[in-house]
């Protein structure tokens, strides 16, 4: 039986929530990663993914101006790195350099992959939609990569940026 509650109370029940790291080049040519809990697939043929970025984030204008980007699915070993990219701003620093990220060049777009991720998807921007205080950016996937070893994906397992892998039952 359902009872009416404030949005935030119902929304706290959404966890675990999948997490991605999206990377685009800013105007200075710096690859800027941002951690996002709001991401989904949105087409099969051609394959596409959508991400949602807050209007006030430095990354918002980076992605608005970028024609291509990478979406990585971080592994459970990347919890610290994922938290770093989600809580620091590219306005102030070079997040990949500051963290000492393990990157490798993308194949089809001008950018980098996260070498330690479960998978990376290279995207060409295929659409944008303003939704409240965020913009949805849609990318058509032009190249995909998987880690050479099998890793588990990282999730936000609860409020307060608690992150971890998940045991399947």
């Amino acid at each position: 039986m359902q009872k009416q509650v404030p949005f935030g109370e119902a929304n706290r029940l959404k966890f675990p929530e999948q997490v991605v790291i999206a990377i685009a080049k800013d105007a200075a040519g710096k690859c800027n990663p941002i951690t996002l809990g709001w991401a989904m697939q949105t087409s099969i043929a051609p394959p596409m993914m959508a991400i949602s970025i807050g209007l006030l984030r430095y990354s918002h204008d980076v992605f608005h101006n970028a024609g291509e980007f990478v979406i990585a699915m971080p592994s459970e070993q990347q919890a610290d790195e994922t938290l770093f990219y989600g809580t620091k701003s590219g306005r102030d620093l070079d997040k990949l350099a500051e963290f000492g990220a393990n990157v490798q060049p993308a194949a089809e777009v001008d950018g980098v992959l996260l070498a330690d991720a479960v998978a990376n998807f290279e995207c060409r921007k295929a659409g944008e939609l303003l939704t409240g205080d965020h913009t949805i950016f849609v990318g058509q996937i032009v190249c995909a990569h998987a880690n050479e070893v099998e890793l588990r994906r990282l999730y936000t397992i609860g409020p307060g940026y608690r992150m971890g892998g998940l045991a399947r039952e």
Copy 2:
């Protein structure tokens, strides 16, 4: 280290993937539920969610023509129900009646809630974006509900519609 692979091979690594059930009234006045793995939050203030529905699905036109809808987060007890709504078409039958769904009226929109879900979000449509072979529908949340008892959310835990709850570590 990443190696280039076909999209499908990298995409199989996305699981577990969260799942929602979206419900809108069709032209005949029937509440039609569809199970979706592609859903995300997309605004904080006002709260909004986005879902992605395939162009060829019966639900696509239902949601295109609807001004409001409900997004439910099913509980792990609803695996059979969730699979039913994801594999049957509302073209052929009244899915809620056929399954014997436990529903209750929505408060702010013309529709129903799933009484056994973890939470339900009543939405007014706030945008649409065509993305490849799917359309993204955006809903502004006008009312939220949570189950009176604490339940775990349902996920697709692997390919082939394998669904279940998740143990947190």
